[in-house]
Amino acid sequence: MAVTVSIPTILRTHTGGQKSVEASGSTLAEIIDSLESSHGGLKARLVREGSLHRFVNVYVNDEDVRFAGGLDAPVSDGDNVTILPAVAGG
């Protein structure tokens, strides 16, 4: 199943400058593995010690995956996945 993943500006160094790329899988974890196989280096930016990086926001069709199962969040054909850094500080 193919989904479209929007890539933030700096991470486009891993996608040859493409703003969005296709990936396949039925969960976010599978999507990230699919991204890694075609665009090496992305996974390390998103996943740390088996979980989604605390300060990365990932959305499936605008839903924050943190409330939808994290890496286990289901993804369907035609979905849009967006990656953004969290913006926080003290």
Binding site: T9, H53, Y59, R66, I83, P85, A86, V87, A88, G90
Partner: protein
Amino acid sequence: MLRIRRDLVDAMVAHARRDHPDEACGILAGPEGSDRPERAIAMLNAARSPTYYEFDPAEWNAVYREMTGNDEEPLVIYHSHTATEPYPSRTDIARAGEYATMLPSPHYVLIGTRDPDVHELRSYRITDGEVTEEPVEIVAAVPE
């Protein structure tokens, strides 16, 4: 150096005063690849805390999409310090490092509201954990 319009400074300061004693946070957006902030976007502080701020993830997604649709990007990220000096905290520096792996590093503007009458406003660049204060020039209008 950060060159910034007076009305944008006024908007950030008013937001910081409004949310005091909680920290206020937001964005100045401008054309992609420019260094010309054109509009202020007051963001929710999802943490609602006097010592921490975090953009609400859903609002941030919506605002980011709107910006990219307008060929804009966040040129300034601002927040307030309500009881301490307006200098980036260790947490600010750590989060800035993570942000920079994904989006171009903005100017970080800090607004101090510890004095009820006189605000403090400073701008910084944060690169590889190094904080550099930069001059702020406040102008009536920024030429294209």
